[in-house]
């Protein structure tokens, strides 16, 4: 139904009817379209021939509407704006008032200029060398890296607090039960046990270190007794008054 009317499109629009949709999409709005029209006419943006531009703009809008393409509302608003500027341009200008009177086109020119500079800025940004197009990230494969398990720090107070928590929960762990055994004894128990590794007997004597003095001897002795009591070691004396030997009841 619109074939005839499409033929009536202004020649200087140079748009085949079926390309109108594409054409519409090619513009980023009414300002973009206006800029196109201005540039095509080789007009100075600062001295727009409003009536000519308005005529072309309206023809374009008309053609699009005839084709029943959906037109963004902004295009219609701009059409109204252009019509208004055109009518104001037709009003006679008084010489005397010229200084105060603002050019009716001023606001439009400002907007066009503003838009144009960001349109240009967008092109500039698009032209910047960018990753994945002009340049690429580099990476080399990794050799075997040392295990990087960074260890958490622990404060002594955290440790004590944890213990306190256990103690207050565990009834069987009464204070006298634990406290009777001095830590030095328990430490020595561990030390003795680690001496008794290979299921071998060692002499009882060798557990003691003379340099530690009387206190050290006592600690070692208590530790040995405790180990016996806990059935962790066995003590063997082959003959009366003979050498005493000890070994772990369950060495590794």
């Amino acid at each position: 139904m619109s074939g005839k009317e499409v033929v009536d499109l202004p020649n200087d629009l140079y748009i085949p009817p079926d390309a109108l949709a594409v054409f519409l999409e090619a513009f980023e709005g009414p300002l973009d379209l206006l800029l196109y029209l201005i540039r095509r006419q080789n007009m100075d943006i600062l001295d727009i021939d409003v009536s000519e531009i308005t005529r072309q703009y309206m023809e374009y809008i008309g053609a699009v509407e005839v084709m029943r393409f959906e037109l963004a509302a902004e295009y219609l608003v701009m059409a109204a704006t252009l019509a208004e500027i055109k009518s104001r341009m037709l009003l006679p200008r008084h010489e005397a008032e010229e200084d105060d009177e603002v050019d009716p086109r001023a606001e439009l020119i400002r907007r066009l200029q503003q838009y144009e500079r960001f349109k240009k800025a967008a092109e500039d940004i698009d032209a910047l060398p960018r990753m994945e197009r002009e340049t690429f990230t580099v990476s080399a494969s990794l050799p075997k890296l040392p295990s990087n398990q960074a260890h958490p720090d622990v404060e002594m107070r955290d440790l004590l607090l944890a213990l306190q928590g256990v103690l207050s929960r565990a009834d069987l762990f009464t204070s006298h039960h634990v406290e009777r055994e001095r830590l030095s004894t328990r430490e020595r128990m561990s030390a003795i046990l680690s001496l008794l590794r290979d299921d071998q007997f060692v002499t009882f004597q060798s557990l003691f270190t003379i340099e530690e003095g009387r206190l050290g001897v006592v600690v070692t002795f208590l530790a040995t007794l405790e180990l016996v009591k806990e059935q962790l070691i066995e003590v063997v004396q082959a003959e009366v008054l003979g050498q005493i030997h000890v070994r772990a009841r369950a060495a590794r």
Binding site: D44, E134, V138
Partner: protein, 213 residues
């Protein structure tokens, strides 16, 4: 700091940049070293110069971008290297690029302000894409009804476009203020000479566009 030591730091820095696959700051590079062997900032800066020089004539180069130093393929080899990748580099729509440009040059800016300048609505898709790419982020809300979000660009944006800062963006074209326009129109009409934008005086507009953080 002797030569040998410098060479070692240089090799380590190069290795780290290759391993990281992303920009590293001077301090991140320095922190690779234990405290007792950590190079001073000036030393590290010097080393980075050495790293850069050592790329001379090779397939890659050292670049300083917003997030730090980065080794990257030289632009001249992109035609060959890009054949490695099936996917063609993504193209961005004009609408997206214009929106991005407005955010880059006019940040912080609201969507409404972008729409005012572009003269059309900005689709939510564009904003979402920019946010997802982490090229822009919301830096606050304007204290007006509706409290619209204000957008600004990110370091990732700068990194992606090979910039070390917003000041490296191509300068905005000048815009002549209205009074000036009026005078010039008159002049043009009278002299009928072709107008070219020679006005040497700073417009003041440009500088204000360059304020960033």
């Amino acid at each position: 700091m002797n030569e040998e030591n410098l060479a070692k730091i240089q090799a380590i820095a190069e290795a780290a940049l290759l391993a990281a696959g992303k920009p590293l700051t001077l301090d991140q590079l320095r922190e690779l070293f234990a405290e007792d062997e950590r190079p001073a900032r000036q030393v590290m800066e010097h080393v980075m110069m050495l790293v850069g020089n050592a790329c001379e004539g090779r397939g890659f180069e050292l670049r300083k971008v917003a997030s730090g130093y980065r080794l990257q393929i030289r632009e001249e080899f992109a035609p060959w290297v890009s054949r490695l990748f099936e996917e063609k580099p993504q193209r961005y729509s004009r609408a997206l690029l214009e929106t991005l440009a407005l955010i880059a040059y006019r940040q912080p800016i609201t969507r409404g302000e972008i729409e005012d300048i572009r003269g059309v609505a900005v689709s939510s898709n564009i904003i979402r894409t920019l946010l997802e790419r982490e090229w822009v982020r919301i830096v606050g809300h304007r204290d007006v009804p509706g409290r619209p979000a204000m957008y600004a660009t990110t370091r990732q944006f700068l990194d992606y476009f090979n910039l070390s800062g917003l000041t490296e963006l191509p300068p905005l074209s000048e815009i002549r203020d209205l009074e000036e326009i009026g005078r010039e129109i008159e002049k043009n009409i009278q002299a009928e000479i072709e107008f070219d934008s020679t006005s040497a005086q700073p417009t003041g507009d440009n500088t204000s566009d360059q304020t960033f953080h």
